[in-house]
């Protein structure tokens, strides 16, 4: 990447400084983010919480390089994101970031394997065979080794989200950004997905998880709480194990 700026703090994957984002709606200015500053370090599992209107989505769009801040600085993996061209942002998204969405966003009528391959399609450095190998490995990591050729409509919601997670991992990103990734799932499946995220975290992945559910945030290691475009709290979490929470759930699979 051109003009790479190495920061003094090597462990900081994400660094935001006095981040502001203002939207102009008609003649009115809406201040969605009013000066945020925080760091996310390598190997952290951070939940970003807040009620609707707190600026979560705006922050996520900026962290995901889909949007640019009005002012303030944002560094990802030491690269200053501000003033980058659209194409450079695309490249950052392709190499540095893995997205997991609430509604999975898998391509219909396309096999799990091909869905997972998709980010690598846009990376000319990855050959066809390498792409297949990496996608297979990513699917193994999320426990879908025997579902590779299945179409999304042949998979359950939890399995579809696992495919989406595999897709987010396949390019070996510096951070995985999850946007309400358990929002469409029932409690049991949500816990299964959180357990998967905890596994990935243990393997050293850096994850930022946007949610509004406190019982999901307890599975992370740190919570950044937003209110009205500002950081309200930024606390470490007494992490609970999702696997144990899963075991504690009443067994009611006989309905």
């Amino acid at each position: 990447m051109k003009g790479q700026e190495i920061m003094s703090d090597q462990n900081s994957i994400i660094k935001v400084e006095n981040l502001k984002r203002t939207f102009v709606v008609g003649s009115e200015e809406v201040h969605a983010l009013k000066g945020l500053s925080f760091d996310i370090y390598k190997g952290e599992f951070v939940s970003i919480m807040g009620s609707s209107g707190s600026g979560k989505s705006t922050l996520l769009n900026i962290l995901g390089c889909l949007d640019q801040p009005t002012s303030g600085e944002y560094y990802i993996d030491g690269i200053a994101v501000r003033e980058r061209s659209k194409n450079e942002l695309s490249e950052i998204r392709n190499r540095k970031i893995g997205f997991v969405f609430q509604s999975y966003n898998l391509l219909p009528r396309t096999s799990a394997l091909e869905n997972v391959e998709l980010p690598l399609v846009y990376n000319p450095d990855v050959s066809h065979s390498e792409r297949r190998e990496k996608a297979q490995y990513a699917l193994e990591m999320v426990g879908l080794k025997d579902r590779m050729e299945h179409m999304p409509n042949q998979l359950s919601g939890g399995q579809q989200q696992r495919v989406a997670i595999a897709r987010a991992l396949v390019n070996d990103p510096v951070i995985v950004l999850a946007d309400e990734a358990t929002g469409n799932l029932d409690t049991r499946t949500s816990y299964e997905i959180m357990s998967l995220f905890q596994n990935l975290h243990e393997q050293g992945k850096t994850i930022a998880f946007v949610t509004h559910e406190t019982d999901i945030a307890v599975f992370t290691t740190r919570t950044i709480f937003l209110r009205d475009g500002r950081v309200l709290r930024d606390d470490p979490v007494e992490t609970k194990s999702a696997l144990e929470a899963l075991k504690a759930l009443p067994v009611d699979n006989d309905y």
Binding site: N61, L66, R93, R109, P119, Y122
Partner: protein, 406 residues
């Protein structure tokens, strides 16, 4: 992003919507098929004209009497008596590029054989007349120069006359028939030649020595036409020039004066015919091109719908790192693939269609290669044009909104 990858991505997207892809292709298929069919039929028509004209004679050159004005009054070509037998002899003696010459005089009359009769036309010529006009003898023999000198009452008859005047098992050779009041001995029959491209039956003919027709039947000293054969197609123009010089000299036409004759080659007649079929073909191609245009609008329409329907897919692709240009290229490639496949299918359909029509209309079947290439290239171009604006729209999608699009 390399081209192979691009084609794979676009191909997969098209395969996800097989029915829609097929339907949007249909417009192009029909448009190209129509163009190719019309072009090929036009080509076939051209070839059939050429074949029939070459059937008319061997490197044929025709000398006709031309319309003349005397004191400002148009005489009408049939009243012009300028061509004489001695003109023929002069051409035969002096024109180096002419191999065969024959005068032509014709007279119509009632042909009678016993109880049967038929209204026919007798053509008088020299013994070379058959070779010049590409008539072949089926049975019997040709008449000779001796017959010409003697005004012999002999003739060769075409198959139509054979059928009309004789019974099936009857041999016409040696029989005497009557043309008007003159008895004629049949010395030969001609092989069947069919209709010419003007719909004239070339077998409804009786060929006789010109002297017999000219003196015994018509009692005139002029002739109606001279037909010649050039030594080869290449010297046809030179032969025409020679004939013109000889005839001007014979007719004592001063330099700058108006010729009282008209010399035409087979090639010129072919060009005249082709200019007519060419006009018809051009009009039909224009109509076919309109249907091709409609096909393109169809593709553009479907591509717009596709882009809107796949907003979420576009948002996802952008969020995982597809550049705007990659999205643009993907949708452009989709529309080019659509129109190219449509074009190829249309070509196959068009060739098939023109084959069937050629068979039904008994025209020669021909494929115009140039137009095949033109169609293929224009399909690619049309795909590019009709796909461009939808693809541009796709590439300008805002990924944030697109990801939330329901």
């Amino acid at each position: 992003m390399d081209i192979l990858n691009l084609i794979r991505i676009s191909g997969k997207a098209l395969l996800r919507n097989k029915t829609r892809s097929a339907l949007s292709m249909l417009g192009i298929v029909i448009g190209i098929a129509a163009v190719i069919a019309v072009v090929n039929l036009g080509e076939g028509l051209k070839q059939s004209t050429a074949n029939q004209l070459s059937d008319m004679g061997t490197n044929l050159i025709m000398v006709m009497r031309s319309n003349q004005r005397r004191g400002g009054v148009s005489m009408g070509s049939s009243n012009v008596q300028s061509l004489k037998v001695k003109d023929c002899d002069a051409i035969a003696d002096c024109a180096k590029n002419v191999t065969m010459v024959s005068p032509v005089v014709s007279a119509s009359g009632q042909l009678v054989n016993g109880s049967k009769n038929w209204s026919g036309t007798a053509y008088g010529g020299s013994p070379d007349y058959l070779a010049i006009k590409k008539y072949e003898i089926a049975t019997g023999v040709n008449f000779t120069d001796e017959d010409v000198r003697k005004y012999a009452k002999v003739g060769l008859i075409g198959q139509t006359i054979v059928e009309e005047l004789f019974d099936e098992d009857e041999d016409p050779i040696g029989k005497t028939i009557r043309l008007g009041s003159m008895p004629i001995k049949v010395i030969g029959t001609l092989k069947e030649k069919g209709e010419n491209n003007m719909g004239m039956d070339q077998d409804d003919i009786i060929i006789m020595p010109f002297s017999t027709v000219q003196k015994r039947m018509l009692g005139q000293d002029f002739i109606q036409q001279i037909v010649c054969s050039a030594a080869s197609e290449d010297v046809a123009e030179a032969a025409v020039a020679e004939i013109e010089v000889i005839l001007r000299d014979m007719h004592k036409i001063p330099v700058g004066g108006t010729d009282d004759f008209d010399v035409r080659t087979q090639q010129e007649m072919l060009e005249m015919m082709n200019s007519l079929t060419g006009t018809i073909t051009t009009v039909l191609i224009a109509i076919a091109l309109i249907s091709l245009l409609v096909g393109c609008i169809g593709i553009m329409n479907i591509m717009y719908v596709t882009v809107t329907e796949r907003t979420k897919e576009i948002g996802l692709r952008m969020s995982i790192g597809a550049k705007n240009s990659a999205i643009l290229m993907q949708f452009l490639t989709e529309s080019i693939i659509l129109s190219l496949i449509g074009g190829i299918l249309g070509m196959i359909l068009g060739v098939g269609l023109s084959y069937i029509v050629a068979m039904v209309m008994s025209l020669p079947f021909a494929v115009n290669g140039v137009w095949m290439i033109i169609s293929f290239v224009s399909c690619a171009v049309l795909g590019l044009i009709s796909g461009f604006f939808p693809a541009l729209k796709a590439s300008q999608t805002d990924p944030i909104n697109a990801l939330r699009y329901e």
